[in-house]
């Protein structure tokens, strides 16, 4: 499933010989180039990749690891699905460059269980790289060894969170860890580990080839580069698009053929719901961030049903470790059901929104911290409409 509009960064021509160039240079050069480019994590959290790599590279440890987070589970996100099958070689290149840069010898691809059908393809590509001397011992004739193993997930959205992913790799329940210390300091088996999204890693050889300057010229000041969007919902042309950061939501909607849009859910279930009035806002870390998920709702949609779908999702996917997320999500879902039956007072709704605010700051990991987002944004923007319709 290729990109539906003209690719800007994710053009096969942009990769050139970035891979060889990177391995011919010094490891720290790669780290500095990535840092200079301003690349930020493309999984949704948006942590500066260069900073992450710098922390891992400068950590003193006998072992380090590179992990590709291919546990794409955010509702509405399917851009990694495309990258994993269409840009497989480039992903491996990115991982190898990361390993070289930080001093790791082993890498894992944590592939979500639902994508098991692409396992043989990825393993085949890894095999091909071994045959071409791009993986294994003395890669490209250099004194650098690197191995990549694919590990499957088993159906848990929370394992997309980096410390839960590491726990899963270690053979535990996918329950996020206490942080600090962070994975770059104490990660897989206690060693410094870099966990990066598929899109982030595929971007790496491009930046090494075209240079940080070229990358910086696309996007906005705090959000350099482009974002792959996976668009679904009430649009004529659902699919994967690539837009530079700073693109206005309304322009994006025009491109995908959205009509009579009532609201757009940006960032998946854990993102925010942008109502019609705010469509002039732009997609960037400064304004409305996203890991790529864009779900469009037209005016025929019942916003409460949509909210219910989100809250059911979170209640089921919560790992259950910490109190605010485990019980809080259930309370928010119960609240949605109460609203549906016309049994939720305005007073109790306020209590739930306050609860949501507590969850946003007191939960142990990103899931609990962002699961109240749809509740708060939908009830804030569409509260009157919802309460009027459900009594």
């Amino acid at each position: 499933m290729p990109i539906l509009n003209k690719p800007i960064i994710f053009d096969k021509n942009n990769f050139g010989n970035g891979f060889e160039k990177g391995l011919n240079g010094r490891p720290m050069d790669i780290v500095l180039e990535i840092r200079e480019s301003g690349l930020k994590g493309r999984g949704g959290a948006g942590f500066p990749t260069g900073t992450k790599w710098m922390l891992a590279a400068t950590a003193v440890s006998e072992k380090k690891y590179v992990i590709c987070n291919a546990d794409e589970g955010e509702p509405g996100t399917f851009k990694d699905r495309m990258l994993l099958t269409e840009f497989t070689e480039e992903l491996l290149q990115g991982m190898i460059l990361c390993g070289y840069a930080i001093g790791a010898k082993e890498g894992y691809i944590y592939l979500r269980g639902e994508y098991e059908y692409m396992l043989s393809h990825i393993n085949g590509t890894i095999q091909k790289f071994h045959e071409e001397g791009k993986l294994g011992k003395n890669i490209l004739g250099k004194n650098f060894d690197f191995e990549i193993t694919v590990r499957l997930g088993a159906g848990a959205y929370v394992c997309g969170e980096e410390s839960a992913l590491i726990e899963s790799l270690e053979g535990h329940r996918g329950e996020p860890r206490n942080r600090p210390p962070y994975p770059v300091n104490t990660g897989f088996m206690g060693y410094p580990t870099v966990v990066n999204n598929v899109e982030t890693l595929v971007t790496v050889p491009i930046i090494i080839n075209k240079g940080a300057e070229w990358f910086r010229n696309i996007g906005t000041e705090k959000s350099r580069g482009t974002k792959l969007l996976s668009v679904s919902g009430d649009v004529e042309k659902p699919g994967i698009y690539e837009v530079p950061f700073g693109t206005k939501i309304i322009d994006m909607l025009d491109m995908v053929g959205a009509k009579d849009t009532k609201a757009v859910q940006i960032g998946g279930a854990s993102g925010i719901c942008i109502p019609k009035e705010e469509l002039h806002r732009n997609l960037s870390f400064e304004d409305v961030p996203t890991g790529g998920s864009i779900i469009v709702f037209n005016k025929s949609r019942d916003m409460l049903k949509i909210l219910k779908n989100f809250m059911e999702f979170f209640t089921e996917e919560s790992c259950g470790q910490c109190t605010p997320c485990r019980i809080g999500n259930k309370k928010l879902l119960d609240g949605v059901n109460m609203i549906e039956q016309g049994k939720c007072s305005v007073k109790y709704l306020k209590e739930l929104i306050e609860l949501g605010r507590t969850m946003q700051v007191a939960s142990k990991c990103g899931l609990g911290q962002s699961s109240p987002n749809p509740f708060i944004s939908i009830m804030t923007h569409f509260g009157d409409e919802i309460l009027a319709e459900h009594y």
């Binding site: 942080r179 206690g190 790992c319 470790q321 605010p324 485990r326 019980i327 911290q369």
Partner: protein, 625 residues
């Protein structure tokens, strides 16, 4: 603090950043921090909770426990750290750079209140009808944060069925707050591993393998999970209704034997600080509530020393003189029923190492329904024997099918410290202010050696005081008979006593370095057993194992809460009480001498003693069908 050197489950994230306090000062590893506007310095790696405790800032906790590794799941201890959007849990956050902490603020107060409301919304049961009424951490938190209505509702119907399949531990998951303390206790602290969180999300529950009833899995009944549970989700199986019935029944002759550890701790149930033994006051209380006789378990502890000590010497003779390959050394003590079930499950091929002597409780029970019945002329069918123990596993022990050598159920009920305190309170008695009184005849006052059984190392010390004197004719070469290598809270202790200038009949022991080991807590027992399996204990002769950390004073029936300081205080009380007794060696107890003269006339380890005072074990294995 769970020792990370043997537990595989300590989160790696919690292991990486600690520096010892002393080292921190030397290498200049001190960090400047600010708490609520005041400036302090702490060693690098200290958690915010530790720093706040050190400088007297109160932070509420729930899943945190002094004995266990960090969990960071309840989120009650969250604090504000300047510059961070989210609140940080104080128990998990290591201080590695200069930060400004606020232990209270609008966000923090609201968060804590919400968390308590959420826990209450899921908590089925009223405080009125709960065994932990007035001693419940959730209740205390609710009071501290001024909960006066159920913000998010309250559970109307129980969701889980109560699991009371076990004689010892009862699980009511409707009250569970998922703090994971029991999981950390069972897997990390005790290395038994029968409780874990199953399922995910809102359906998460603490359960056993395949949700089987507790009696069908490898639970050893040590009750350490009960001691650490903050609510009434875990409790012991309480027989006090049946005991009241027996007391109220004029036909029944109800006798109680009291163990030293409950006596050292029961004051805590009446508001006293830990470390005050109320032995004599308790005797008065027990008679007041209607027990017909009050006996001292220390008597049968002395008897255990005689039997087990003789057994050890016989084993040594069989091994060193007769070179009998079937005789197993080292000999392991067998008075801890949690430990016995542990070895039956996890090391069933090594049961021959266990002493065949029963525990003091069971020896006493057998004697009460034979010897005592004879002496007093009371029909043993009407004698009800109750044992006051610090132990939850003793409830299982007295129900073991083989424990009826008297022809009746030797011990009818095992009663814990907490349960007896409840009975005393029900009778309107304030224990600490009662006058003192003595134990009843014909068992009377026991020796100090029997008393120190309560602390880890006590059985070993008592055994050595007797065995050494028996073999050499001299007292143990330690000041005041206090064998200090046996004492202390270290997990595994090792020492030896040289047997020199022995009496002629023990000449085969001349020059032998009697090597012994002491372990408490089943994780340490596992360490010792793994060494045994690896063949590394070939020169060790005697090992004392107690299933509970701290020994019996930390037992599953003792007052809640527990902590290293509380257990140390109780152990101190035991040793202090013992030091002041007139007789301090088991073999000098006149009542013990009397028993061997009049009743067990063939002496220790004879056929008659074996019938009443020794037992056998069951190979259980750890496969759950």
């Amino acid at each position: 603090m769970t020792d990370s050197s043997f537990s595989s489950r300590i989160p790696t994230a919690q292991q990486s950043l600690k520096i010892e306090k002393g080292a921190a000062h030397e290498i200049g590893g001190l960090v400047d921090i600010e708490i609520n506007g005041k400036k302090f310095q702490v060693p690098f790696g200290t958690s915010i909770l530790e720093a706040c405790k050190e400088f007297d800032f109160h932070i509420p906790t729930l899943c945190y426990h002094d004995d266990l590794c960090i969990a960071g799941v309840c989120r009650i201890c969250v604090v504000e750290v300047e510059g961070m959007r989210t609140l940080q849990s104080a128990c998990t956050y290591p201080i590695t750079q200069s930060i400004k902490i606020k232990t209270t603020s609008e966000k923090v107060r609201k968060a804590r209140r919400h968390i308590i409301d959420l826990l209450l919304s899921d908590h089925y049961g009223e405080c009125y009808s709960c065994v932990r009424n007035n001693n419940c951490e959730l209740q205390s938190l609710a009071k501290e944060y001024g909960v006066d209505f159920y913000r998010f509702g309250h559970v109307k119907e129980p969701f889980y069925e109560i699991d009371n399949s076990s004689y010892s531990v009862v699980r009511d998951m409707n009250k569970c707050v998922l703090c994971r303390r029991c999981v950390r206790t069972c897997i990390d602290l005790q290395e038994v591993g029968c409780l874990e969180a199953l399922e995910r999300g809102y359906d998460t529950k603490i359960s056993t393998f395949m949700d089987k009833p507790l009696a069908e899995v490898i639970c050893i009944n040590c009750g350490q999970c009960i001691n650490r549970c903050p609510t009434g989700a875990l409790r012991a199986n309480d027989p006090s209704d049946a005991i009241w019935e027996a007391i109220d029944n004029p036909k029944k002759h109800v006798v109680i034997q009291t163990a030293p550890s409950p006596r050292a701790a029961i004051g805590e149930e009446f508001g006293l600080p830990p470390g005050h033994s109320l032995t004599r006051e308790l005797n008065t209380a027990l008679r007041m509530i209607g027990f017909d006789r009050v006996f001292d378990t220390n008597f049968s502890a002395d008897l255990t020393i005689m039997e087990e000590g003789t057994e050890l010497l016989l084993r040594l003779k069989a091994a060193l003189v007769d070179k009998d390959p079937n005789v197993k050394l080292p000999q392991f003590t067998s008075c801890s029923p949690g430990w016995v079930k542990f070895i039956e499950h996890f090391y069933p091929d090594y049961l021959d190492h266990l002493s065949t002597a029963k525990s003091p409780q069971q020896m006493f029970g057998a004697l009460l329904k034979t010897f005592y019945a004879q002496e007093t002329g009371i029909d043993p069918a009407n004698i009800v024997t109750v044992a006051l123990m610090p132990c939850s596993a003793k409830k299982f022990e007295c129900n073991r099918p083989e424990m009826n050598d008297s022809g009746y159920k030797d011990v009818d009920y095992g009663l814990t410290t907490r349960e007896l305190a409840q009975m005393i309170k029900e009778a309107g008695i304030y224990l600490p202010e009662l006058p003192k009184s003595n134990f009843d005849e014909p068992f009377g006052e026991a020796s100090g050696a029997g008393l120190i059984f309560g602390a880890t190392g006590g059985v070993m010390e008592a055994a050595l005081r007797t065995a050494y004197e028996l073999v050499t004719g001299r007292e143990v070469p330690f000041e005041n008979l206090n064998i200090t290598p046996c004492r202390g809270m270290e997990g595994v202790r090792e020492a030896s006593i040289k047997l020199e200038n022995v009496k002629p009949e023990w000449s085969f022991l001349e020059g032998v370095d009697l090597k012994f080991m002491i372990a408490h807590g089943t994780a340490n027992a596992k360490k010792v057993m793994d060494k045994l399996v690896a063949g590394e204990l070939n020169d060790v002769h005697f090992v004392e194992v107690m299933a509970c950390p701290g020994g019996c004073i930390g037992g599953g029936g003792q007052p809640i809460p527990t902590s290293p300081e509380i257990r140390a205080a109780r152990a101190r009380a035991i040793y202090e009480e013992e030091a002041g007794l007139p007789i301090r060696k088991s073999h000098e107890n006149p009542h013990v001498k009397y028993i061997y003269q009049k009743f067990l006339t063939e002496g220790p380890c004879s056929h008659l003693s074996h019938k009443l005072l020794h037992t056998h074990y069951t190979k259980r294995g750890n496969y759950i069908a």
